[in-house]
Symmetry: C2
Subunit: 114 residues, 2 copies
């Protein structure tokens, strides 16, 4: 197997970690799916994801907002409505997710046979 | 944003999890890099990865062997030598790693500006 340059390898580490931090946890990927599906309100999102707690969902949403993956909008209505939406930017994750999915599908075949 | 089919989304979950289980941990990606770089013996690999313990390295190598990512060869010499190598199959991860890296690089720009 061809040797890979040490520096080249290590320089990949940090951004790979960054990406895994953003999507690697237990919930963020599920929350993104829920938003992509069209859920916008906190209770809707919560109901769509089995076993997630309100506290965890609130924390994850905040985190994802900081990472520009979602927006939080306060609607000027009574009672006040808060809506969450996936950003256009969040769509850039789809290619990553597709690669992860495809490799996982193939890996099951590799490990368990077809 | 276009709605994504619920079933389509959820069917992606399992293989994405599988992939993250294989490469998402703290060490496996570093071990793969070390092997791709041409390290083969336990002590070489251990030395190349700061802060990894022998116990953890042994466990990870076993796990990676079960996932067909590396091979473990016992050389018929005296004293007995054991060599670890990355498999050809492990190279299929490079595309995934490239996607993760590229997204991470771009994400730093998105979050911190250029």
């Amino acid at each position: 197997m061809k040797k890979v340059e040490h520096k080249e390898c290590l320089s990949a580490l940090l951004p790979v970690r960054d990406t895994l931090d953003v999507i690697g946890g237990k919930w963020k990927f599920l929350i993104l799916i829920s938003l992509w599906e069209g859920n916008h309100r906190f209770r809707e999102i919560e109901r769509s994801i089995p076993k997630i707690s309100s506290k965890v969902l609130a924390k994850e949403l905040k985190d994802m907002e900081e990472h520009h993956l979602i927006t939080r909008t306060v609607k000027d209505e009574y009672p006040v409505q808060i809506e969450y939406s996936a950003t256009e930017y969040s769509k850039t994750l789809r290619r990553v997710i597709t690669e992860l999915r495809d490799w996982g599908v193939n890996h099951r075949k590799e490990i368990f046979g077809q």
